[in-house]
């Protein structure tokens, strides 16, 4: 099989699909290659939040603003209801020292234009009437939103295909070869395709694809386990998560009173209700290779946290658990860039927990790069080269 495509997108998760959709929309001949099924990696095993509050001020927060506006448009544009909602979000604070850290964090986000504030106990109760007593304050942002990632992917597939997008599933790439002005992708069944450009959107597997063309992409799988409740009425106005995890990232010394298992699993409490009424209780952040299994130890800690914050939940049922592999880059930021010395090879991966939030803008940025349009963000912060520069600096100082 021999065919020249404008762009071959590798990876059928939300990032690859968004990229393929925006490229197909401008008339490019696009093929999307997925070794398994649509959304079988992180995009199908995550929660549904478009979070602003979790983002450090900087490029990711800027991109999230535009991505949110794009989701609003996609909810009209795609031929599937993506369940976009602007419910707002709260980070629950239980500890005076955590409050101080969060006040500083919130101030920085406000300086970057995010509408977020600290609210006191009384206002927390108004928004979360079932909350336990020990919560002393909370952040609140009306900006935090949510979307059903599964429906978004279905919409990208369905609308993409009607724009001419070709999707190849269950095909495994064996090798990638750079030709004079195009790329040749070889499959393990002996077939191949040719494409002018390639976008590596393989998520947790992006580094395997990188190896085929001799580049090092510092992305590793980071497992997240989530428990799912039965469908129950909404128990609070917004989705919530706990300050503990954000504080642990910003000020590790304040998290030391936690036990080893908790730290090893990297648990940060996140609690959101999907549009169908199930609550998603998460989540772990574990470096355990490509193992996606869930285990009782982790689920038990997360469930206990949920009951601790909302005692009424002890009556609700857990119906399922799942685990997904978030693509975690070495510095926690996505890689959205063309690769130096590999003309026509782009990377859109490494979003870790930001994949759903940043999918639309990522797809659009890659389409802009491929079509040589001006980009008004500082893309150096998301380039692959930033890691080389760091390596170089380390070597120079050594």
């Amino acid at each position: 099989m021999k065919k020249i495509y404008d762009v071959a997108v590798i990876g059928g998760g939300i990032i690859g699909l968004s990229t393929a959709y925006y490229l197909a929309k401008e008339g490019k001949k696009v093929v999307l290659i997925e070794k398994n099924e649509i959304g079988s990696g992180a995009s199908g095993s995550c929660d549904d939040m478009i979070l602003f509050q979790s983002k450090k001020p900087g490029i990711l927060l800027e991109l999230a603003f535009e991505s949110l506006e794009m989701y609003k448009r996609l909810s009209k544009e795609l031929d599937v209801d993506i369940h976009f909602e602007n419910r707002g979000g709260m980070i629950l604070i239980e500890d005076q020292r955590h409050l101080e850290v969060m006040e500083e964090f919130v101030q920085k986000q406000r300086n970057c234009g995010l509408e977020v504030e600290i609210i006191d106990k009384k206002d927390v109760l108004k928004k979360q009437p079932y909350i336990k007593k020990g919560v002393i304050a909370s952040t609140y942002s009306s900006k935090d939103a949510q979307v059903n990632p599964l429906n978004v992917m279905r919409g990208f597939v369905s609308s993409g295909v009607s724009l001419g997008l070709e999707i190849k599933k269950h095909v495994v790439i064996k090798d990638i070869k750079q030709k004079k002005d195009y790329w040749k992708i070889l499959f393990d069944d002996g077939r191949w395709i040719e494409s002018e450009k390639i976008v590596n959107a393989a998520g947790a597997w992006a580094s395997d694809i990188g190896k085929m063309i001799g580049i090092d992409i510092p992305i590793k799988p980071k497992k997240g386990q989530i428990a799912v409740t039965e469908q129950i009425p909404r128990i609070g106005e917004t989705n919530v998560w706990s300050a503990e995890y954000i504080v642990a990232k910003l000020r590790p010394e304040l998290a030391k009173n936690k036990d080893d298992l908790h730290n090893k699993l990297g648990i940060g409490f996140a609690f959101s209700q999907c549009s169908d009424g199930n609550y998603l209780i998460g989540s772990t952040r574990e470096y355990v290779g490509f193992d996606k299994t869930t285990n009782y130890e982790a689920l038990k800690i997360m469930i206990n946290q949920a009951i601790k914050f909302f005692p009424i939940l002890k009556h609700a049922h857990i119906i399922r658990s799942f685990g997904g592999l978030r693509p975690a880059s070495a510095d926690g930021k996505a890689i959205i860039s063309e690769v130096k010395n590999r003309k026509g090879f782009y990377i859109a991966a490494g979003h870790e927990g930001d994949g759903i939030a940043l999918a639309p803008i990522t797809g659009k940025l890659i389409a802009d790069m491929i079509s040589n349009r001006n980009i008004y963000y500082d893309m150096n912060a998301l380039s692959l080269r930033r890691f080389e520069q760091k390596e170089g600096a380390k070597n120079a100082s050594a």
């Binding site: 099924e37 992917m153 295909v161 999707i167 469930i303 009951i307 002890k314 119906i319 399922r320 799942f322």
Partner: protein
């Protein structure tokens, strides 16, 4: 298989038949997902919620596999079942967290 018989019955509207009873997903919704590009049971599940409810597909799993086989021509024996995960049955959070 009963469904094949039904499709042959003239004037019989089979598409409103509920396949997933927990989530009340009809046959036509499943067929629509397949026409949108779903080719596996997991994709049908993720796109329609069929098999995502209280019983986690215990009732409808096999029927969905048959619809997929009928619509795509994939042989039933080649269709991979959707993923099984713990817990096997719904459990009260109060009991799980003990």
């Amino acid at each position: 298989m009963t469904m094949d018989v039904k499709t042959k019955m003239e004037g019989f509207e089979m598409s409103d038949e509920i396949i997933c009873r927990c989530e009340e997903i009809t046959e036509s919704e499943i067929v629509e997902a397949i026409r949108n590009g779903a080719t596996t049971v997991n994709e049908i599940k993720k796109w329609t919620r069929a098999g995502m409810g209280l019983c986690q597909g215990r009732t409808c799993r096999r029927m969905i596999e048959r619809i997929l086989a009928r619509e795509t021509g994939i042989e039933l024996k080649d269709i991979k079942p959707s993923t099984y995960r713990q817990p096997v049955r719904p459990i009260k959070m109060g009991a799980l967290g003990e």
